[in-house]
Symmetry: C2
Subunit: 354 residues, 2 copies
């Protein structure tokens, strides 16, 4: 294993130390338990947005802490959920009294731990809302997930809901917007190579020298199918068509009710994309794929969207939700209405997005 | 070879097509010959800044075209110099009458071709200045270079001189500032893995599973020494100390005289860093190394600079001058005076840096 690390057990701690040294004007890092939070937190009168998850999906989430995006982020070990005490302590540190919105990617560990943290925060008098992101159209149920996985739409939700919170949205308004963004977004990923988790020291999965896998998750969870290598155009078409033609998707999510302090079930259905929709197109590198190759993908994607009657009104191209050094990419299309565009375009100042 | 490409011969063209589709508000692409230029070029009353070089070092240079940075960029094939006609046509497209500054990385092909382009532009009545970047402290003379190679300081020069041009600097003032930035900057790179150039289809060099190379160039040119893998702290220390303790460096550069239309030789000496200096610290990914590992490097670098009496007044951390998907990183330290800081902090709007 060749990585720029010292001891395996110190990887996340030392990376956070570097981040704190590099960006003292934007964020601070608390170490026991670990969380990253805005240097000016809590921001008076503002709902706080908090996310978190396993490390290794940089710059998400810690790199998205700052004005216009997250108030706090809880990093787990690499590809491992953070713990409820991280989330709870982070919520306490950033709550201004207006409440805290948790943005939770749909992985079983993350979901359970954020649920526990929500209950702990509520017991402490902090209003919480917890919104699930489950936008990965590749597979239903996966290695670490019941239902669809949470992937690229998470980044877009953090930006859009972060902008709305900055603009004075209430906790319930932030939750409604975040739920809408999740319902409007669909993603799919693919891998050319595996990454190596430091604690494992070997590739997460094996993929032949002439093979690729479509529909893979951000931890290397199995996808839809392996193929012999195809061209960028062929790969982009397979993935874009699968997203655009994805059928209505219905699932039951659990959300928190601050009135009675109880979880309740909510059935949500995502409608398919329709000709005439405006979309934000997000072409993401899994880490090891250069941005130049993402532009080749975007070239084909733009043609497919046009042919399907979708108008790309914004694009977002780069490594924003990665799997360490994995080569590959993911596509996310987000149906964009005026509210979503307004906050997508709002000012932001984080290490990972400015 | 697993890459997101179609036909090998179309790689750069299709990537540029994607870039043009993605950023029509910022830039345009001309295809025969190939150059990327500001959507609003020529900008009246402003000196135009033009750079270029082989493709594969993204987002440099095309991704740095836009307000506050480059007016034009000439992409060669992957790791191959662009041609004089690209540079000449680009200069004509972006010149407002105030002249064009070429920022040239020190690789023999780039240098020769930019010299020819300067002569062609001058013959056409365009004032030109051509400033060499040769900041790589790793080796003197290399595979494609007489003298030191041009690496990370190029990105800093494009930002700083681009900001000054936006602020009304004359062509000669831009040239003076660019020359100073080059003299104030020193860099060194290292590789954990090779990249694969599409047209070659196989790794540029072989490096054992437990080996790394210190001092490598951005095309995989040989460095100072190969070692068995070391820790991030050990690697960072080797490179940072080599940069900080690098002795006075003297070379003769060729510059262009617009008065008589002749090249002249100029002897330049870069002074070593001194305790008390303020610096901009640039930790760059070679492409495949995740930003999280760069933060581990920055953590150590900050300590070394402090111990050596250097104050890091700005930092810049991410993949900005890459070698396709190569894993590894480079360090650049740039002595920063008030003029340099003013334009480092100036507004910028490019695909690669905002």
């Amino acid at each position: 294993m060749k990585k720029l690390i010292n001891a395996v057990e110190d990887v996340v701690t030392e990376q956070l130390e570097g981040m704190a040294l590099a960006h003292p004007d934007i964020l601070k890092v608390h170490f026991e338990p670990k969380y990253v939070y805005r240097a000016d937190a809590p921001v008076a009168g503002k709902v706080a947005i908090v996310s978190g998850g396993g490390s290794g999906h940089e710059p998400m989430h810690g790199g998205f802490v700052g004005m216009g995006m997250l108030d706090g982020a809880c990093p787990g070990e690499v590809f491992t959920s953070p713990t409820p005490d991280q989330m709870y302590e982070c919520a306490k540190a950033v709550d201004s009294g207006e409440g805290v919105l948790f943005i939770v990617k749909n992985y079983t560990g993350d979901v359970l731990n954020f649920e526990m943290a929500a209950e702990m925060a509520y017991a402490d008098g902090i209003k919480v809302q917890s919104i699930l992101i489950d936008d990965d159209a590749a597979v239903k149920d996966s290695l670490y997930t019941a239902g669809r996985r949470g992937v690229g739409t998470t980044v877009l939700a953090e930006k859009i809901v972060g902008g709305a919170a900055e603009d004075g949205y209430s906790l319930d308004q932030c939750a409604d917007l975040c739920r809408k963004v999740n319902q409007y977004g669909r993603s799919m990923g693919m891998a050319l190579t595996s990454c190596i988790v430091p604690a494992a020291g070997k590739p997460t999965f094996d993929l032949g020298d002439d093979e690729m896998e479509i529909g893979i998750g951000i931890h290397g969870e199995p996808g839809r199918e392996r193929f012999k290598m195809k061209t960028a155009d062929e790969i982009t078409e397979m993935m874009a068509i699968a997203i655009i033609e994805d059928e209505a998707y219905t699932r039951t999510v659990r959300e928190w009710n601050n009135e009675d302090g109880e979880w309740f079930d909510l059935e949500l259905t995502d409608d398919p994309f329709q000709s005439g929709d405006q979309v934000i197109a997000f072409v993401n590198s899994m880490g090891g794929t250069p941005v130049s190759e993402l532009y080749a993908v975007y070239r084909k994607l733009a043609g497919i969207c046009a042919a399907k009657g979708l108008t790309i009104v914004r694009n977002f191209i780069g490594p924003y939700i990665t799997s360490l050094e994995m080569q590959g990419f993911s596509l996310t299309l987000l149906k964009a209405d005026d509210e979503i565009l307004k906050y997508w375009d709002a000012p932001v100042n984080t290490p990972g997005l400015r």
